[in-house]
């Protein structure tokens, strides 16, 4: 029965994940940020070191934060001399909280996690990782809750529970962290709108990092050369440049180059309205958002580059302006053959 219930929950989560994600308001955040990719080292608080099973879960949450931030948010790592600290302690200034984070950017942070078995005003705290084998329902996943606290350390706040459909996969819920077997009880990655906020505040990790589907950003695509006379039979490299549109409301993302996407090259004959796809342009791996394709030109065409909105990113599609590459003869005629039809040029 338990297994069937688990399967049902799994199917529900899969269904939610399969639903096309709509753009939404990113997870709230406040305060100043860490420097981009700032490495922040933490230690276990002296006298409040977690037991081995808890230490393992809390360390795993550190790795979860680093791997799922998808941005240049702070990188957390253990160092016995770290200024920040994590504690497994009952020293929390409430009689109800199970996790408690204090940010002191740019220097450090502190995270307190309540010990297993603590009696709080709502009941007894049970961490799932405490149990060997299958943990009981009602327990809280220490790795998930610690990752939630790392979210606070990264400046994330709590989501607006009125928009629960938007924030289904968020780790930053306020009204009761989710216990087993509620959907997401053991989620170990930031949700899409959590990532969106981190990308807005810290910039995506690389120019090829997928932009969160919680966002809906316009893109800008240019193509060069824009117009030119090209000698017949000459090889020409067409270069497209893709970036987040400068008009986006998030300054850190405005103008951000986008590499590793799919940009295709199209052409049409003069006087035609129909575009034909020539092929995919090759992404240049230099983080400039450039895509190239080399063509040998024998006929004059109009050219354009097209970026179709990807289903797995919060980016809109874009089409470049049209470049007309006029093919010309590459020499000056020296004479015209007579008695030959058609006429031809000789150089």
């Amino acid at each position: 029965m338990t297994r069937l219930f688990g399967l049902a929950i799994g199917a529900l989560v899969a269904a939610l994940n399969a639903t096309p994600a709509a753009a939404a308001l990113p997870t709230p955040a406040s305060g100043v940020t860490w420097d981009r990719n700032q490495r922040v080292e933490y230690r276990w608080k002296e006298g409040s070191e977690p037991p081995a099973w808890a230490r393992s879960a809390m360390s795993a949450a550190t790795a979860d934060s680093n791997s799922s931030r998808k941005s240049k948010a702070a990188i957390f790592s253990y160092d016995s001399n770290g200024r920040a600290w994590l504690a497994y302690t009952d020293d929390l200034p409430t009689n109800w909280a199970i996790g408690y984070t204090v940010r002191s950017i740019p220097d450090s942070f502190t995270i307190r996690m309540r010990p297993h078995g603590t009696q709080l005003d709502w009941g007894t705290l049970r961490w799932c990782e405490f149990y060997d084998g299958e943990p009981p329902n009602g327990c809280y996943d220490l790795e998930m809750v610690t990752l939630h606290e790392f979210g606070h350390a990264q400046t994330l706040g709590h989501v607006d529970e009125a928009q629960i459909d938007t924030y289904t996969d968020s780790l930053m819920h306020a009204t009761g962290l989710r216990s087993k077997p509620k959907a997401g009880w053991n989620q170990h990655v930031f949700g899409r709108c959590d990532v969106a906020r981190l990308q807005i505040r810290y910039e995506p990790l690389t120019t090829s990092t997928p932009i969160s589907t919680c966002l809906d950003l316009a893109t800008d695509l240019s193509l060069s050369p824009t117009t030119s006379g090209i000698a017949y039979g000459t090889s020409v490299t067409l270069t497209a440049k893709l970036k987040i549109d400068a008009s986006t409301s998030y300054p850190i993302l405005a103008g951000e180059p986008l590499t590793g996407r799919s940009v295709v090259l199209q052409r049409r004959a003069l006087g035609s309205t129909a575009w034909a796809t020539i092929g995919e342009m090759s992404a240049v791996t230099d983080n400039t958002g450039r895509y190239v394709k080399t063509m040998t030109l024998t006929t004059t065409y109009d050219w354009r580059a097209v970026f179709s909105a990807p289903g797995n990113e919060g980016l809109d599609g874009a089409t470049s302006s049209i470049s007309r590459l006029s093919v010309t003869y590459g020499c000056t005629p020296t004479g015209i053959g007579r008695g030959v039809d058609p006429l031809y040029e000789t150089c």
Binding site: L25, A29, S30, P93, W96, R103, H152, G157, E161, T175
Partner: protein, 193 residues
């Protein structure tokens, strides 16, 4: 599905200047107004210890108290998960209704405010029969605040939020508010007669 109800337009305290919310969103240093923890003597015995422990043990940058008023004296709510001035606390649950601050209502509106006059930009009120039951929206208002977006029309700063009482019965009422520096959530045991 019950649609959100705005029983009354929340009081707009100030229109933000084009430059910053910060000076207005900060808590004032003025002392909190006298508060009746519970409206009834019977509820006081069970409510007071929980509320007092929470309130007394918070650090220097205490979040403001959340007050719910049915027309008599405002009742201080049980603080839940919050982020306030760089400090975040996370609740895993709330206690039974009998241990929550109790407010007696007799049909009308409820009004939420923060103890020190702290303003907020968005709020939402819900109710449920129990802590783990599905919540129904009583009202919501204001606009979300995005600290990272380019300057846009300033949101209104609200000093209170009014909404319909739940139907006649015994409920938990939740209020979540957002402001530039974070979010706060509170709960009450509300008895509607």
């Amino acid at each position: 599905m019950k649609l959100p109800t705005l029983a009354r337009i929340p009081v707009v305290v100030l229109l933000m200047s084009a430059c910053s919310l910060a000076p207005l969103a900060q808590p004032s240093s003025s002392p909190a107004a006298p508060i009746a923890t519970t409206p009834t003597a019977t509820a006081a015995a069970t409510v007071t210890p929980t509320v007092e422990v929470t309130r007394m043990s918070l650090p220097a940058a205490d979040p403001p108290l959340g007050l719910l008023d049915a027309g008599d004296d405002p009742v201080e709510g049980r603080l839940g998960s919050y982020c306030w001035e760089g400090t975040c606390a996370d609740a895993a649950g709330i206690p039974p209704k009998s241990q929550l601050p109790t407010l007696a209502a007799d049909g009308g509106d409820l009004e939420f405010s923060l103890s020190d006059g702290t303003t907020f930009v968005r709020w939402r009120a819900t109710y449920a029969a129990g802590a783990n039951d599905e919540q129904t929206t009583l009202g919501e208002g204001g606009e979300g605040f995005d600290p990272d977006a380019r300057p846009s029309p300033a949101p209104e700063l609200l000093s209170s939020a009014a909404f319909d009482e739940p139907p006649r019965d015994d409920w938990i009422v939740f209020v979540q508010v957002f402001f530039e520096g974070g979010d706060l959530s509170y709960a009450w045991h509300v008895i509607v007669r």
